[in-house]
Assembly symmetry: C2
Homo-oligomer: 275 residues x 2
């Protein structure tokens, strides 16, 4: 028995953005990371040094002494390496950290498994406050679900249980709210720099758009020419985008989608129309 | 002569979201709003009471005593009403507040004209800190440009001169970063609620996405399956969206655009490819 939850020996499999942020958060909360595995020496050694762990670049040398194995590899690497990872280490609890991979990927390979999915956009250059990150957990047994819950609660104030199906939807929603949103910023950056305008001028608008969504449901917070059906502005914008056909397509489709959603909302329905 | 800039009598033409926020900001900075015009009595009276002004619902009764007339109407109303507004009041400086309407709309109607465009998303329900809002100004004479600049500087820490062409681009960029971003939140909200998941779980991710853009150029902040060319995840997401064809189209086009932009970036080019 471990005297406290922090005494559980943890192995970190992976040393990328996500692995780094999770390992740091665990380390800062007093957890004991015994080993870091990465394919490359540099990544393994860097993260290991930071969290006072050993490291290895060989799967065969991954420790058998850990009780919790946290796997933060690319989805493809996870799928390929999984049998080699668990072999000889099926005593431990194995969890992956991927939004879109079902917990059942572990089935038939090992008995104790699960998922610990922190939903956030991690860049190595940008520190994050892990305590505010929602973490979604799932496990093969109730005891391990509770164990994961307790560990996750040490890291974050927002821990939820979520099924693999729900987690897929969460990941999909995150792609819309984070990845696609960031790409809209990229397109705006391009338009502005082509016209000698500073991207910084957009920051207050970006901040307010994010802030407002804490106060109003997004459908109610919608503003702009699309929802006003202001075709003078819309057609003007489409003309400005004649030189950027892909942005023009995005503009057109987003405008249509805003108007369609508003029509549904006004009719009181929440289901999307089938086309 | 006015003793101070705050003594200039101002008429507010319009009482919608934008008019309300501009009038409030002026009033709170000690400016004197002499009259509010709105088509509807309720809107006119409400805003007038708040800023201690008179009000009218008749264009013929708009005061001739103002020196600055700020017009915050819909683009269509502005275009239609413009001749009646300025008639008999061409002594004053007339400015509109619309991102996408050129200053030249006033040409031939009156001599002293311009634009005061605060770039923000205004909802009546949500208070904003006007001091952080970028304001873009333009005027027909250098003297009036300086006057507008001084007035705008009383309201906001970020005042820029921008030509009508630049302002159109700013407005277009704002549609991408604010209106389209908010619509992505709406789509995520729908996906989550269909799967019994709380939209609140997205807020830390939304906040971090906005925060990160203060630190990194958007192209460098990009994360997610599109930029990783992770087709397992992408195809999985597209399947989940089979029941939502319009979201599926948005997912596909945004993914392509992210990949195209990244290819351009890696080639070191900034121009968008012609299709």
């Amino acid at each position: 028995m471990n005297r406290s939850i922090q005494d559980i020996p943890i192995a970190m499999v992976g040393a990328g953005n996500l692995a780094t942020h999770v390992a740091r958060a665990l380390y800062n909360r007093g957890f004991r990371i015994v080993q870091v595995y990465s394919r490359t020496t540099e990544a393994a050694a860097t993260l290991a040094a930071e969290v006072e762990a050993d490291y290895t670049t060989r799967i065969a040398d991954i420790t058998t002494q850990a009780q919790l194995y946290i796997v933060a590899l690319t989805d493809t690497a996870l799928t390929q390496l999984l049998p080699d990872l668990v072999q000889g280490r099926t005593h431990g609890l194995w969890v992956h950290t991927a939004g879109s991979i079902a917990a059942s990927i572990w089935q038939g390979q090992t008995e104790r498994y699960g998922v610990l999915y922190p939903m956030q956009t991690f860049s190595k250059q940008s520190a994050v406050d892990f305590t505010t990150i929602p973490v979604f957990i799932e496990s093969s047994t109730e005891a391990d679900t509770e164990l994961l819950f307790s560990i996750a609660r040490c890291l974050s104030g927002q821990v939820y249980r979520a099924s693999s199906e729900q987690r897929k939807i969460l990941h999909l929603a995150a792609v819309f709210t984070c990845n696609f949103t960031n790409h809209l910023y990229t397109l705006a950056h391009q338009l502005l720099s082509e016209n000698q305008l500073p991207f910084e001028a957009m920051l207050p608008l970006i901040d307010e758009t994010a802030r407002k969504i804490h106060l109003l449901p997004p459908a109610q917070a919608q503003t702009g020419p699309a929802i006003r059906h202001d075709y003078d502005v819309i057609n003007n914008h489409l003309s400005l985008l004649d030189i950027h056909p892909q942005m023009q397509t995005i503009y057109r489709i987003m405008t249509e989608s805003i108007q369609r959603k508003e029509n549904e909302r006004l009719r009181g329905g929440m289901e999307e129309l089938r086309e």
